[in-house]
Symmetry: C2
Subunit: 249 residues, 2 copies
């Protein structure tokens, strides 16, 4: 093996180990054994475990960010659905390491590991905004995107811990939650309404948005719900242009 | 000062310092100076900076969890609105320390600091479920609550970094996002529909839910949106009982 090949091999082997175990439970000896190399050889390439951990994380971060790439074609919710399929596949195959990294509090947490997390989040944020194709996204819209990314992370972590629902359900639900968050944001920001009209016009009945719309229509057919919501919608509120509700005590 | 009083004073002083600066930028000397005490006296009470940091965090965590307490009276969104007012007030007054703690990657991050974060999250989760008063919350509902808590955290962190909107707007928006998340969850889980009907029936026109409903009604009056959504709602989808959309390639 050339020097470069050996370095690559060590990183690949380390990434596999750090994917299935938290960093505390992976030693330089484990990495050397898995790579069929000696301990001094590993130290020849990396000053220590932290360096090889951070390098393998950077590698994993680039791979994950690569999975966010998606052609700008077809209904938006279906694009996001495909991306989330690839994301959740990554989560599943790197479970324990992904959890240890995102849960924080690990002895291996460092500014370097935080930087990797931040870069992946930024890549996700930028990809979503580029698919939304809104020229100057408002602070509110950016915040919606970031909050949804946090939702995807926490949902993935919970799923890894409990696996209480099939992964395909998570995939669909996360996409639908994005559609809901986008809709709410547009309800607050009239400048987004035209974009939202174009978004809904592109969606298909059997895509995530169509299914969500029908689920909501079913919910509003439940006795009491439509009546209560209609009463709220048609009420003339004396304080409706105040910045905060009058319900505080 | 008695031994207990001095210990309390040191923790209070440390908490103030750790609220306004990241832990890296607070030294034992700073704590001693702010408390009007000597460095050896601080070491008499605490083995080192990490111990006093973790103790002051536990104190802050208890204070924050205490702010989640709210009488089970009145419309649910108004209760949550009051709680969020107290939460955001805490975030504002402990900004830099709150951000350093939640952003992770700090040299002071440890299993002890993670435990404090986890306990505050659990307190928030339990309070919300107790206000929802649903006897056996489903895994999906629990996940919705946890994801919304993550939303509140990330939104707070973004606000601390950029302060791009008034705090009262965040407060209202977070509550409305909870209402939306609850609604979507009920759309997926028919067992929640009766609870949702009761929830909407209790809400008032000038509360957060009433305002959200009217914003959404306004959005659906924008040309194109109602038509597109209605088309999705009324389409007969051949694949509507498949577990995942047929849009994947």
């Amino acid at each position: 093996m050339s020097v470069d090949e050996r370095r690559e091999q060590l990183i690949a082997v380390a990434l596999e180990l750090f994917s299935v175990r938290p960093p505390e439970e992976v030693s330089i000896d484990d990495i050397a054994a898995a790579a069929g190399a000696s301990r001094p050889l590993v130290y020849h390439y990396f000053p220590g475990k932290q360096a090889i951990y951070e390098e393998s994380l950077r590698r994993a971060g680039r791979e994950l960010a690569g999975r966010f790439e998606e052609p700008s074609e077809g209904p938006l919710s279906e694009r996001l659905h495909r991306v989330m399929g690839r994301y959740l596949d990554f989560v599943q195959s790197h479970g324990p390491g992904f959890a240890a990294l995102l849960r924080g509090g690990s002895v291996a947490a460092s500014p370097g590991t935080s930087a990797v997390i931040d870069e992946v989040r930024r890549a996700a944020h930028d990809q979503i905004l580029s698919h939304l194709a809104i020229p100057s996204p408002s602070p509110g819209l950016r915040l919606t995107v970031r909050a949804w990314i946090a939702n995807a992370e926490i949902t993935s972590l919970e799923w890894l811990a409990e696996r209480s629902v099939p992964l395909e359900e998570l995939q669909l639900h996360l996409v639908q939650e994005f559609v809901a968050a986008l809709t709410i944001t547009a309800a607050r920001e009239p400048a987004l309404a035209a974009e939202l009209a174009a978004f809904f016009a592109d969606e298909r009945p059997d895509g995530p948005t169509g299914r969500l719309v029908r689920d909501l229509a079913g919910l509003f057919a439940v006795p009491g719900i439509a009546e209560a919501v209609t009463a709220l919608a048609t009420a003339s509120s004396p304080s409706s242009d105040e910045p905060s509700p009058q319900a505080n005590d």
